[in-house]
Symmetry: C2
Subunit: 249 residues, 2 copies
């Protein structure tokens, strides 16, 4: 039975303030809920329709959190999806634990990417290309924003990330740092890149001057027409595709 | 002076029904309005702030449509931008005129791409890669939707397009047809592609069975991680980047 307090609590999670306060966020839709149940995230509360509960009975059996049966209509009132006939999960945030780079890997660093849709799409792209680690400047969009979670299409469960001032971090890591600029090396003709950090900048301002100083190789996506720029998620995807092609991994 | 009727008319253009009925759409923000003024679109009405009018006085001099001075607040009431201190233009739609393929060019065909943001981003990507022609299935999102126009970042002024049933059209054109599938040729290792048509499918269903039959070469974007798929605009960008790299144009 869905209580008024639970309704109020889940609705509060649409706001960053209450997500931070409670340390929780929500995930909705069949695919994403299944992915979060299969991940190392801790699901505390699961709202399921009769349809979802029957379809995934075996998967739900070991679930030890609170399970409440709801209607499709109730789900749609609670979440942001216009249509959701499956489930909504309330999940515990992870702590902002840093990681260290390991050999032979590319790390994506986001320097103030503000749009939640862009952040989510970049996480999905990273997961596609097998890039497991991302670091975000403090002003980058919030990972647990429902729009970010939605845009990742489940990929949020498969990446490691933390928020930190990028300048000192990149300095300390002392790795090759790639950044996209208009006057960089054409990525179609560049030689095999080394592992390191790929920095992507803010939607309007690009990479900040402080971080630009730390970029060891500027790279450029060749344009053939008249568009002035590419969306940051699109540019990230094209760069990852070229890096993976050149690195042959 | 902004009349009540003008306000009502511009607000009606948020809805497809009234756009179709009037044959008009709107464009907002400094960059996009400047681009449309410099294009072969016919601007009928221009709402400008004092700031925009002074900054672009020379450009506005030859303008023969109706010009109304408004406040930033009025612009924000009329358009979809949260912040707009510049201008909003009411523009005449172009007719749905078909074109024929010419030598040495790649044409993008969209088979039911429904999301306006995706359509707009694809148009921006096409413009970046110098792809001037696009064809859309009748169920593809409407070109003149304000969200499409916004996502193109002005690139909507530089492409040719029309809506038509793709099956018969592609049949008639009789060109190489590329389509993205999971079991196609790895685009990192493919040899130089010929000019032709690149088909991109619906967000959920991909390329329809009817169009799949007409695809002469299936291509695949190699994945290295666990994401099941890529967003259609992302996939379009990666394919265009690889095609241009391989074609060397």
């Amino acid at each position: 039975m869905l209580s008024k307090n639970t309704v109020k609590f889940i609705k509060s999670l649409h706001q960053k303030k209450y997500r931070i306060e409670s340390g929780k966020f929500f995930v909705e839709g069949e695919k994403s809920v299944l992915e979060v149940l299969n991940s190392d995230f801790s699901v505390e509360l699961l709202l399921v329709t009769d349809f979802f509960e029957k379809k995934h009975a075996r998967l739900l059996q070991p679930f030890r959190g609170e399970l409440i049966q709801v209607t499709q209509n109730q789900l749609e009132q609670l979440g942001q999806y216009q249509s959701n006939d499956s489930a909504l999960a309330v999940v515990k945030m992870k702590e902002n634990n840093s990681f260290e780079p390991e050999n032979e890997e590319l790390i994506i660093a986001l320097d103030d990417v503000r749009d939640p849709g862009n952040l989510g799409t970049i996480i999905r792209v990273a997961d596609w290309y097998g890039i497991k680690k991302l670091v975000f400047s403090p002003q980058t969009a919030e990972f647990y924003n429902p729009k970010v979670i939605q845009a990742t299409m489940g990929s949020f469960t498969r990446v490691q990330f933390f928020y930190e001032d990028l300048g000192p971090l990149i300095q300390r890591w002392n790795l090759p740092v790639y950044g996209a600029f208009l006057d960089g090396e054409n990525i179609h003709h560049m030689k095999k890149p080394k592992c390191g950090v790929l920095v992507m900048g803010n939607e309007a301002k690009g990479i900040s001057p402080e971080i630009e100083k730390k970029v060891t190789q500027k790279v450029t996506i060749p344009g053939y027409g008249n568009a002035e720029s590419l969306n940051v998620a699109i540019a990230t995807a094209i760069l990852c595709d070229n890096f993976k092609r050149l690195m042959g991994t």
